[in-house]
């Protein structure tokens, strides 16, 4: 890595990842207004014509829909910047969709957006951008990056708009990736972004936000899983099994472990005086264990593939706020290095639904220290 230059100069070309939504459109408009040389690029990640049996008529906010590409191209045309659609379907399937499917089959609850950020958006895209002459990229993510001279590290901070903060999905970024990434919206509230979009006459200023996982229509993971396995000529996920209480009583039959995730309350098919939650899933035994809210609480867990961002990997225990789901409020915990990129995390107060496959992200106030995958 050459001596870091901490902000782009005006002649330097910046690749803006444009989804067709208001956020990335505004990023392109903003950088363009500020005099930067900008090229817009949309990643074609998933062919929506695949798996027609689960296609949803008129679904919006789907990734790679022709409408979104149309919008992104329209915005780029209005700005008068070059614009390209780049095809990363192979990489996306290999690095995001397949692991997503395997994780579900193994009884875990994956976070595909993190994989996509790590292996597609901030990896393949950056590589492609550099290849065509843009060393830096910008996206519409809500997070902040800053250079810390004393430590010689790039820091990641939570977005100013806490309701839009996306750092839960960005903990996997390396120092190299951070050094080449701009998040111009991290300092703004969503309402300010919309105001700016209107001021800059961005055509998509009033467009709705996208929701859910982009390649799974209507958030129906089970249907996606079944359709994908069928397309691949693979065996359907294990079918019926037993729903048991924590003391081993069989309460009901269920229609497949892949329909359940830790912490789930709805759709269990049993009535009980107290609300019941999924405590654990075991695909090999086709067993789903349910119990009370208290039984969901856990104080200790392990995380793997830890990536440290704002601090170097510590030798001793670190105190941090640890977030175990996107909407979870970080809870005070002690993180002890356990070797080979693993760590043992102990909450001061036990937390609900520590779910294997989700990420644990470590915070010190606004600072993102790092994160890892929950085992």
């Amino acid at each position: 890595m050459s001596a870091p230059q901490h902000s782009p100069d005006e002649r330097e070309l910046i690749a803006v990842a444009m989804s067709g939504g208001v956020d990335s459109s505004t990023v392109a408009a903003l950088l363009h207004r500020d005099g930067h040389a900008v090229a817009g690029m949309t990643m074609q990640l998933w062919n929506q014509r695949r798996l027609p049996e689960i296609a949803v008529e008129g679904a919006t906010g789907r990734c790679c829909s022709l409408d979104d590409v149309y919008d992104a191209r329209w915005v780029a045309g209005q700005l008068g910047i070059p614009y390209y659609v780049v095809n990363f379907e192979d990489r996306f399937e290999q690095s995001v969709v397949r692991p997503f499917v395997e994780e579900y089959l193994a009884g875990r609850t994956p976070v595909p957006c993190t994989l996509c950020n790590q292996f597609v958006k901030f990896d393949r895209f950056l590589e492609m951008a550099e290849g065509v002459g843009a060393r830096r990229m910008a996206t519409g993510h809500y997070a902040r990056i800053s250079w810390d001279e004393p430590s010689g590290r790039w820091l990641m901070l939570r977005a100013v708009d806490e309701t839009k903060d996306q750092t839960y999905f960005l903990w996997g970024l390396t120092q190299e990736q951070l050094s080449r990434t701009l998040f111009p919206l991290g300092h703004m509230r969503k309402s300010e972004v919309r105001d700016l979009a209107r001021e800059l006459e961005v055509p998509t200023a009033e467009k709705n936000d996208s929701q859910e996982i982009c390649f799974v229509p209507n958030g129906d993971y089970a249907a996606f899983l079944e359709a994908y396995l069928r397309e691949q000529g693979r065996e359907a996920p294990a079918g019926q099994g037993e729903l048991v209480s924590t003391d081993g009583h069989v309460l009901a039959r269920h229609c497949g472990v892949h329909h359940f995730t830790v912490g789930q309350r709805k759709g269990l098919g049993v009535s009980a005086p107290e609300p019941l939650y999924v405590i654990a899933t075991d695909p090999a035994a086709r067993r789903v264990t349910v119990g009370s809210n208290e039984e969901l609480l856990r104080a200790t867990f392990h995380a793997r593939e830890i990536n440290w961002i704002s601090i170097a990997g510590p030798d001793a225990a670190v105190r941090a706020g640890v977030r175990i789901r996107n909407k979870h409020i970080p809870a005070a915990a002690t993180i002890e290095p356990a070797g080979q990129g693993r760590a043992r995390i102990t909450f001061d107060e036990p937390q609900r639904a520590v779910t294997p496959g989700q990420a644990a992200v470590f915070y010190a106030g606004d600072l993102v220290l790092g994160g890892g995958w929950i085992e």
Binding site: R73, Y84, V85, M128, V132
Partner: protein
């Protein structure tokens, strides 16, 4: 790094407007704006202009003006020949013989015929992108109504032995269409002397505007029309004629064209000499004089096209999906290239306005861009070094 000057090397996609066609359009708009079917003298003036254009196209193809049908473009011309030619047949069992390397204008028309119950055979090309005439003959059946083989391929420039196949088709009583959209203006050719029944051309590949094409339909052939609503073009194509665009096509085919073979060869040899791991696709085939399609080992053509575009050079991968992103070319895959080789292939197509200086600038930029892309892809450096 970005360039405001542009150098255009994508003439197989479309061509810039030539001064003579611009003039013809302007003249026709001033003088021949009326409806050529009108009885009055304004209409008669438009008719004269329109028929002059038809005569120019007929002279260009060496046929009679009555054998020219103006269409909205190459796609409509090919659709009219394939769909119209087959639908006009009243036979019960109908078969169409075509190739796997046709333009979608023909492939999708054949897919439509399949939905209508017609059997279709798609001939696979050789590794050089060529269909053998004997292979063609073997697949003619007693039910074959029509055969459609493109004259020259838009992606590789490979030229097919149209006259030989047309003769075989005629002997078997089979109608023969050739998509001449890429070949017209680049090869000296007459569908009449080649014995072809239908031949499609497009204006915008000939330095005229988009929105106009023509189909040569040999006297005696019958076409079921695609459009209904008027008796224009002898009942073969309804709709008020675009005199303006026909005039442009007429002027375009009458125009002298420079031979770009030396420029193409300079480019191709330059690429091979400067860039290790570069291979010409269909390099052993008879090819259009303006086209070269080159695979660069270990790089994504998509990135090379973008990198060159940002430096001012327009080139192409030859195939794009509906969103505009690159898909491996069906033509290169049919020739037996692996998806990876197909994804590393770039098409350069030359034409009016290109110069040796431009070619040298392109060579410089391409060599630099390929080296840069390879340096970023560690997998490749291992393979090459």
């Amino acid at each position: 790094m970005r360039s405001d000057t542009r150098w255009y090397f994508d003439h197989n996609a479309t061509t810039p407007i030539a001064p003579v066609t611009r003039e013809a359009v302007s003249l026709a708009m001033e003088d021949a704006w009326a409806n050529p079917s009108s009885l009055h003298q304004d209409g008669q003036r438009a008719r004269r202009c329109f028929e002059e254009a038809r005569a120019q196209v007929a002279r260009f193809l060496g046929c009679s003006p009555k054998e020219i049908v103006f269409t909205s473009g190459g796609t409509e011309a090919a659709n009219l020949a394939v769909l119209g030619g087959v639908r006009a047949s009243t036979r019960r069992d109908r078969h169409v013989l075509t190739t796997a390397i046709e333009h979608p204008a023909v492939l999708e028309a054949c897919a439509q015929l399949e939905r209508e119950g017609v059997a279709v055979t798609y001939l696979q090309p050789s590794r050089q992108g060529v269909i053998g005439p004997e292979q063609f003959r073997r697949h003619l059946t007693k039910d074959t109504v029509l055969a459609s083989v493109m004259h020259a391929n838009n992606e590789t420039g490979a030229v097919q032995e149209i006259a030989a196949m047309a003769a075989m088709a005629r002997e078997a009583g089979v109608l023969f269409h050739s998509d001449g959209v890429q070949a017209a203006g680049k090869l000296a050719f007459s569908p009449v002397s080649a014995g072809v029944d239908f031949y499609s051309v497009s204006a915008h590949k000939l330095n005229a505007p988009k929105g106009c094409g023509a189909l040569y339909a040999r006297t005696g052939t019958v076409l079921a029309p695609l459009l209904h609503g008027g008796r224009q073009e002898r009942g073969r194509r309804a709709g008020t004629e675009s005199v303006t665009l026909a005039a442009a096509l007429g002027a375009a085919v009458a125009m002298e064209r420079p031979d770009v073979t030396p420029l193409r060869d300079r480019l191709e040899q330059g690429l091979l000499a400067r860039i290790p791991g570069a291979h010409v696709n269909a390099g052993q085939a008879a090819r259009l004089p303006n086209t070269t399609n080159v695979a660069f080992d270990g790089i994504a053509a998509e990135s090379l096209v973008i990198a060159l575009d940002l430096r001012g050079f327009s080139v192409s991968t030859g195939a794009a999906c509906s969103s505009g992103s690159t898909e491996p070319s069906h033509v290169l895959l049919a020739m037996g290239l692996s998806p990876e080789q197909a994804r590393s292939s770039v098409r350069f197509s030359l034409g009016l306005g290109n110069t040796a200086e431009q070619v040298d600038l392109l060579l410089e930029a391409a060599a630099e861009a390929v080296a840069r892309l390879r340096a970023l892809s560690p997998a490749h450096s291992e393979v090459v070094r």
